[in-house]
């Protein structure tokens, strides 16, 4: 409603301006025409004189105007009134319709804007809620990840500990095996070297008498040995 009034006020202001502009223009034209005479007069005096209210033709020649007389202001006002009447009589409904259409469009625009605003508010609320939910979810995810990381860390530490214990056990077992092997090897070498040493000593000390004695012992026992061997 305010908009309609504002538009109407605009139209009235414009019309008045046009109505006043017409007489003023006509006045200026008449004055100009009159001025030429004055100028002619002034050329003898050498200066212009400023127009006054009394110079305006208000009503002279309203119905019949001699040539050179400016259009009276009242006539112009009448013309203007007629113009307004015609505008109001014939252009008014169209203007009203246009204004109503415009009002309707503006109202629709306002409604759409309102709806958009409501939608935006809803969206805002929705996104705020979502953001809050996101924050909550993010916190939940962070907590979950932290928990998982802690569990993973615990698992890795446990596995590392088990691995360490396993390696330690293997190393101990290997060490023990190697110690056993080393001991066996040392004993084997000691035994073999002892036997080689004994061989060297016997070779160095055995003589013909010993050979005969050993041969005699062999000859005495070989029969029994052969019996055992062959029967076995």
């Amino acid at each position: 409603m305010k908009t309609t009034r504002r538009i109407a006020r605009g139209w009235i202001t414009t019309s008045l301006f046009v109505a006043l502009l017409g007489p003023a223009t006509l006045w200026a034209k008449g004055h100009e025409e009159h001025g030429h005479g004055v100028e002619h007069v002034a050329s003898g005096h050498g200066h212009h004189s400023a127009p006054e209210v009394s110079d305006i033709n208000w009503v002279d020649g309203l119905f019949s105007r001699p040539e050179g007389t400016p259009v009276p202001v009242v006539a112009l006002l009448i013309n203007t009134a007629v113009l307004f009447f015609l505008l109001g009589r014939f252009g008014g409904p169209a203007i009203r319709e246009g204004l109503k259409g415009r009002q309707k469009r503006i109202a629709q625009d306002i409604e759409a804007a309102r709806e958009m605003k409501e939608t935006a508010i809803e969206q805002l609320a929705f996104y705020k809620e979502k953001l809050e939910r996101f924050e909550s979810e993010m916190k939940s995810i962070q907590d979950s990840m932290r928990e998982q990381a802690e569990l993973e860390r615990t698992r890795v530490l446990k596995e590392a500990e088990e691995r360490r214990l396993s390696l330690e056990r293997e190393a101990r077992a290997r060490l023990e095996r190697e110690l056993v092997e080393a001991r066996k090897e040392a004993l084997r070498v000691a035994v073999s070297e002892s036997i080689r040493a004994a061989e060297r000593v016997i070779k160095g000390t055995i003589n013909g008498e010993d050979q005969e004695r050993l041969g005699g012992e062999f000859a005495q026992t070989v029969g029994a040995s052969a019996t055992r061997e062959v029967s076995a």
Binding site: I195, I206, E212, E217, T221, A226, T227
Partner: protein, 188 residues
């Protein structure tokens, strides 16, 4: 190859008139096999196709004669057959088989007695008697010397080995000690 060897051995065994002849053939073939294995010149003379067959056969007969076999003896004839059929490489195994067959026919068992040094004759006679009594067979002692034995003796008879050498006893002591130490290591 075993079948071929046994076939030739059987033929020679049947052709031999008595165990003495079989023993002679076995000895001749054994000696010839030893020479054939050791002498590259003899192998060249017998196998080189550059020489005529008659010349090569004449060499064979000459060597066989030098080993104690006459031209018509069973050993020489056997060598000729083996030569003509390119069977000389089985000669060593054939001689061994014949020796074994001859020994069996004569009831002889051969025992190889190895000592670190050569011992007196009484030792070998005593060993032969002891083995003959123990095995109930006529044991012939073949002698060998191996200083590596250090002392004592080893005899191989009827596929068995009786080791009473010093080296053998030391080996046994070594084995016993190693087994003992291994058992102790396991028990620890």
């Amino acid at each position: 190859m075993t079948e071929v060897r046994d076939r030739y051995a059987q033929a020679i065994y049947e052709l031999a008139s008595d165990p003495a002849e079989l023993d002679q053939v076995a000895r001749t073939l054994s000696e010839f096999a030893r020479l054939y294995g050791e002498s590259r010149e003899l192998r060249e003379a017998l196998e080189n196709p550059v020489f005529p067959m008659e010349r090569r056969e004449a060499v064979l007969v000459d060597v066989a004669s030098a080993l104690g076999g006459s031209e018509d003896s069973l050993a020489t004839r056997a060598l000729r057959v083996l030569f003509s059929r390119r069977r000389l490489p089985i000669l060593a195994e054939l001689a061994q088989t014949l020796r074994k067959v001859a020994d069996e026919r004569k009831g002889i068992v051969r025992a190889q007695v190895t000592t670190a040094t050569a011992l007196n004759e009484g030792f070998y006679e005593q060993v032969g008697r002891a083995l003959s009594e123990a095995l109930g067979k006529n044991v012939v002692v073949e002698r060998a010397v191996d200083p590596q034995l250090i002392g004592g003796a080893i005899t191989e008879v009827m596929g068995r080995t009786i080791d009473r050498s010093v080296r053998g006893q030391l080996r046994r002591v070594e084995q016993d000690l190693l087994m003992l130490t291994a058992q102790q290591s396991l028990s620890h």
